[in-house]
Amino acid sequence: MAESEKNKAKLHFAYDFYKIMKESDVTFAYEGEITHEITKAFSSLAESHIALNNESNALQKRVFHVMVESLQNISKHSSERKFKDSMFAGQGIFLVTKDDQEYNITTGNVVLNEKIPALKEHIEKINSGNKKTLKELYKKKIKFGKLSDKGGAGLGFIDMVRKTGEQLIYTFLDLNDKKTYFVLTSTIFRTK
């Protein structure tokens, strides 16, 4: 009896999960390690999915851009790693939601508390910029910025905001005195 109750719960969980995804317009959800192979696979999956929906080339390319940069952010910057020395395989969540107006690309990953002030300042600076100042910031960063040991150019967020024309939506959720959960959403309007 207990066993069948357990099985029933498993099946109901799948249905509840499906309902939550539908209600929140989630078209894609993943939790786990983000490797380079996964980044490529998800991005091309999205690309072909969007192409099938008859979206414009420009929109296709923008979604692709944001997806690659978001996934690479997790793989390079998540502080959660299965293997300590894996340079390009951080853990995180990755969600794509879609409704009549927009696509939303959301990532979530653990960051060390000590990294938060700089991260926050970086995002706020980008969010407060306009088309012109972001262009200048991009030029300055690409010219004078240094590539990190993981091959990050520090240009990902700027590129996401420039390509979408929308501010980044983000929050930090306390985990403990060392770590925080960082959630970031980038919105791409379908009509732009």
Partner: protein, 129 residues
């Protein structure tokens, strides 16, 4: 001088660097989002350093990328800065920036590079169909 010829993949561009005087051709085309950008672009930068010791009368680099990530954009700039050095040493240099005619973002990316580096640029639009 040795020739570099790298076949393109779904995450790395096709690269041809051939400086034979009869029929020189230099082009980077396709997609660029390598797992390790530095490892991919280092041999190209090294080749350009060697090339700069004894360049052709006219250097033309074709860039015909359909997509590149931000990490690659930094390395592309490094390539263009090598060409800037050549140009500043009074050599004849031209960058031909090819973009799909419906891709404003790629067109703008070319214009931005043109603003950043002191190298003659030519914007070339092409149709995908």
């Amino acid at each position: 001088m040795r020739i570099i010829k790298i076949e393109g993949t779904d995450d790395t561009p096709q690269v041809t660097l051939d400086a034979n005087p009869e029929n020189p051709f230099m082009e980077i085309s396709g997609r660029s989002l390598p797992e390790d950008v530095v490892a991919f672009y280092d041999p190209i930068l090294e080749w350009l350093d060697e090339y700069a010791e004894n360049p052709l009368e006219k250097t033309v680099l074709n860039i015909k990328l359909e997509y590149f990530n931000t990490a690659s954009s930094k390395l592309l700039l490094d390539i263009l800065l090598k060409l800037e050095d050549l140009s500043e040493a009074d050599h004849d240099v031209l960058v031909r920036w090819h973009y799909p005619d419906d891709d404003e973002d790629m067109e703008e990316a070319g214009e931005e590079y043109e603003d950043i580096v002191e190298v003659p640029f030519e914007q070339v639009s092409y149709s995908i169909d």
